[in-house]
Symmetry: C2
Subunit: 161 residues, 2 copies
DNA sequence: ACGTGAGTTCAGAAGGTACTGAACATTGCG
DNA sequence: CGCAATGTTCAGTACCTTCTGAACTCACGT
């Protein structure tokens, strides 16, 4: 590992701090941050470990998490040794669409069952919150789709101009 | 603390598990879950501690966090001793609108600066992600507003019918 | 003004989690 | 087939966070 702090490395460390503040392991955030800006975009585990000063074990665990979340994918490395990864182009879109809202909605569904249904005394706030998360869960994918559409449109406009 | 597991208590414990899985202290989730369904809706610290089997210290810390996040507010308790809290009616709406997306966007702005601007080599993915979070940050409040509108409309329709 | 109950703060303990490093497995190349 | 390098697993460690319990402060009511 190099001890000098390149801008890339600096950003990866920042990402580690932010993500760990959200309950993820720091190494997870560092890997994600690095993969967001590294050149070339695909990196092997060894390269990642070296670039970020992490042990092979940490990289292995972190990459497994990233793969599970579909934030990263393996890329074939013909000729070269080892497995390389790169960030999914729409990693962050997926992260936002992800099931964090579903988890909340399900929690509240369970709560409504425990209380004895929507009309049970004291269930009004719970039902309202459940409705809200169901709404978000339903609408967010559409919002993301709209971003993609609008962004592509802008890109075309720029290259036309 | 009572050791029996009422439905309300059970739900609060569930909420503690879910929230702690998201990087929040378990006590924070328990308090939030309890306040979402308790009857009456306003509860003093002592009542909360008793209901959830938490120490006064934990309740104090947890309620401070909830207050900071504007998820809970103090309610005046004329006559009675102590401070009572109740959940903000739109607590979860606020939680979704909250600044988690801003944090990401700012992280990526910082990254772009470190790399030397939007056109720096390797900055394309970062710029795209930044655009995305900026978009979400902009649109989510509108989505939440739409939920409120539609929900109110539905309520009127129900009470009219 | 005093006493009582409520809330905050803080030090210490307990528990949990992430990281490391070494042993093991696996894959590609000579 | 063996060598070398890569990736995985796992036990141990170090760290960090949360919770408790006690001491303290504060405010109300009598």
């Amino acid at each position: 590992m190099s001890d000098e702090l390149t801008p890339e490395r600096h950003f990866a460390e920042d990402a580690g701090v932010v993500l760990s503040g959200m309950g993820m392991p720091p190494a997870f955030g560092k890997l994600l941050g690095w993969l967001l800006i590294c050149d070339p975009p695909h990196q092997t585990s060894t390269e990642l470990a070296h670039a970020l000063g992490l042990s092979k074990g940490s990289v292995s665990a972190g990459m497994r998490m990233l793969e599970n979340g579909k934030l990263v994918r393996r890329v074939p490395t013909p000729g070269r040794r080892g497995t390389a990864y790169e960030m999914t182009p729409e990693a962050f879109l997926r992260a936002v669409e992800s099931d964090q809202y579903r988890v909340f909605r399900e929690l509240m569904e369970r709560g409504l069952e425990l209380l004895g249904g929507e009309d049970a005394p004291g269930a009004d706030r719970l039902a309202y919150s459940r409705d809200f998360y169901a709404f978000i869960e339903r609408e967010l994918p559409q919002l993301v789709a709209r971003f993609k559409r609008e962004h592509d449109t802008n890109k075309e406009a720029r290259s036309d101009g």
